[in-house]
Point group: C2
Chain length 433, copies 2
């Protein structure tokens, strides 16, 4: 029987070109996190199922999780997201750690879903979280990490925007202004969350079922039409949303000082599902007409420590998947070409019995931190040139047995120079050009 | 109910100090691979169980693998090792790819085992493989990647050695010299593999069961006493081991030219179990008296493409785990201190309502690729100093509202200088000192 060469459904074989692109994205993520002093962490790829059950309820467990029972009768799951793990880890150290705690990670995650564009069963996710006393500055900082990252790829306000809203605001609006009880508020959240996907008629029909008073129904419709930050501000003043719940003006001036104004857009339909968020909620949106979708989402939360019987520690964070990010970069032409490696010297020979000289010189050059692909067995010039180019090398070196010399050809300029094998210093200077 | 804060058995929570150490090791691995032109790849964390069954037989499947049945009735497993995945991937592309193919990866792997020093259920493993026509130069290159990596940590021949042997040689010795049939050869392999672990008496007893002729028994005992490369060479000449099977002299001169001589030690008991190796086999051994153990192992193989019905493509490779490597570096004092991060500026203020100035300046500095942790809310000097030190920052900046200036204190030298907030250029120069 022959075994299949294909990867498991919904997973990727990352051949070198793809892996180089992924490593490039990972490097930019790490740089963006380090620019703000975030520290790296990672956790196990397996967690006990109870952890996810406690955080997300039974639904996620049943539908989306890879879970099984281990030989010790533990019910375990492959991590489908990083938040429960980071909460578990922070719960171990938050009492001693200086606040705020700034952490990031780039774990591989598995979710059981039907593979489609931008969604695979396995992906890597950049997770950034800031834990500490509630503060608009923490919210601003998390958004800055995102813009810093996107800017590092060359993306700007013409490529993406940050749609935001605030759960404190919606909660206040629903309960104090519209006078809804908890259960009706919950249902209205659900409706808003689907607002962009439902046809207008369907939406109106479902809204009607809430039997809002005329005045409230008008207010709610007014809310749904809010487009700019100015309109949002005016509306929040109109309903007397208190500064204590969330300092909207403070948030906006801080966003201004932090260079975020050109990205921030208020969106009344952003609520981030029925998730655990309790403050700011946001989604980074692609502005490309063919790719109008959320690239990443996040927000502020307060209750993650509860399941560990630990005192509350608020946080703000987001997750950005590598598949989504790559689609974004590709659709805007922002992903560099990774079809070739990035090697300095391809070293070979056309002569018999020159193998040891090749090994020797390659070794000496590598010890000066210059990469060398060596090809000790003799090859024809044409073949050497072909292999050197395909490998993405900048120089081709050919050792000439008789003269004890090496000819070094710059493959970009076609310049070539000849050096004594013993003259390592000059060879290094040439290769550093 | 309160949820456990502990990680799943045999897995690690990598808090920032540990993750920084791991990232440092990963970076050195990547650099070592790139120094030789190896290209990165990765595969899925799940594979179909048939892949492992085809390569390793039923034993590994039953004992060591995390496997389960997915919702599509596929029998899948979390990857316990990378070789089957890389073989599957190479089988897809080897016909078109220029040879040799040089690939490396650093995947996370899960094995079901009893956690103990140097062995956990989850670890990361540096996998390096070179696929192409059989050649002693490929074997030498793989060993060079290892020494290059270990040298990059400051390890030298006083810290580690490379014990080697060759399966071609053992096969020839067993079948042609000792005249053993396949089944007896197999049993003798098993005995040798356990030679170091068995007490002398036990070993002799089991050896006696082979009923070797006196002459052969003496030869076998002579084989077991071979200590140096010179002795190995003399012995291989004595039994007329043919150069066509493996060019021992060529291998040794190439190793010399490549700077490997000081690491290479012949060891008659190295056979790498009953694994798939067909040529060179080796183990990198820690020389530390408290940690005399194999750090990594590998060798040359020929048959990995068979299970995919593809023509043979020989290879050489090795795997090095992050837990083992870390133990090695720590026991030799070669692991740098990672207790703190590596941030440049910690920026805060002692004054009220200076938050926007903090955000503004931090943003301007970060855009020049300098990392800044900002702390917009006012704090006492002592607190600022404390937080700056704990965060591993090199400078503490304090914005003075009244004067519109920032005082920058070098935390290593205690020098301090005052700059106009608008004078970004001078601030950057100071921070780059």
């Amino acid at each position: 029987m022959s075994i299949s060469k294909k990867p498991y459904k919904g997973c990727r074989d990352l051949f070198p070109e793809l892996k180089r692109a992924q490593d490039f994205m990972f490097d930019q993520m790490k740089k963006a996190a380090h620019a703000f002093g975030f520290e790296p962490y990672d956790g196990p790829m397996l967690e006990e199922v109870d952890l996810y059950r406690a955080k997300s309820g039974q639904e996620l467990i049943n539908d989306q999780i890879y879970s099984f029972t281990d030989r010790g009768e533990r019910e375990v799951a492959i991590r489908p997201e990083m938040t429960p793990t980071v909460a578990r880890m922070v719960a171990q150290v938050h009492r001693e750690a200086p606040k705020p705690i700034r952490w990031y990670s780039i774990p591989n995650l598995m979710r059981y879903e039907r593979p489609q564009r931008g969604r695979l069963r396995e992906h890597w996710q950049f997770n950034v979280d800031l834990f500490g006393p509630e503060s608009i500055y923490n919210e601003i900082e998390i958004l800055q990490v995102i813009t810093h990252l996107f800017n590092s790829f060359g993306a700007n306000a013409s490529h993406f925007e940050i749609l935001f809203n605030n759960r404190q605001f919606i909660d206040f609006f629903f309960s104090k202004t519209l006078g809804l009880d908890e259960s009706k508020s919950y249902d209205l959240y659900k409706l808003i969350d689907r607002a962009k996907k439902l046809p207008k008629e369907k939406f109106d029909e479902q809204l009607a079922a809430f039997n809002l008073e005329l005045k409230n129904s008008e207010l709610f419709n007014e809310y749904l039409t809010l487009k700019s930050i100015e309109e949002f501000k005016t509306f929040s003043e109109k309903i007397s949303f208190p500064k204590e719940n969330w300092d909207l003006s403070g948030f906006l001036s801080a966003g201004d000082a932090a260079g975020l104004s050109k990205y921030l857009v208020f969106d009344p339909t952003i609520v981030r599902g029925l998730d655990y968020y309790t403050g700011l909620v946001f989604e980074v949106f692609d502005k490309h007409p063919d790719n109008r979708r959320a690239l990443c989402g996040g927000g502020a939360y307060a209750g993650l420590m509860k399941i560990f019987n630990e005192e509350q520690l608020p946080g703000v964070g987001f997750g950005l998947g590598d598949v989504t990010l790559k689609d974004f970069l590709e659709s805007h032409g922002l992903l560099p070409d990774f079809s070739h490696g990035n090697n300095v010297l391809f070293l070979g020979t056309e002569d018999e019995s020159c193998e040891l000289e090749v090994l020797n010189l390659a070794n000496a050059i590598r010890s000066r931190d210059i990469s060398v692909i060596n090809s000790p067995s003799k090859l024809k010039f044409k073949k050497l040139l072909q292999q050197a180019s395909k490998s993405g090398s900048r120089f081709l070196g050919i050792i000439q047995k008789e003269t004890n010399k090496v000819k070094i050809k710059n493959l970009n300029t076609n310049d070539q120079n000849i050096f004594e094998l013993s003259n390592i210093k000059e060879i290094i200077t040439e290769l550093n050009k």
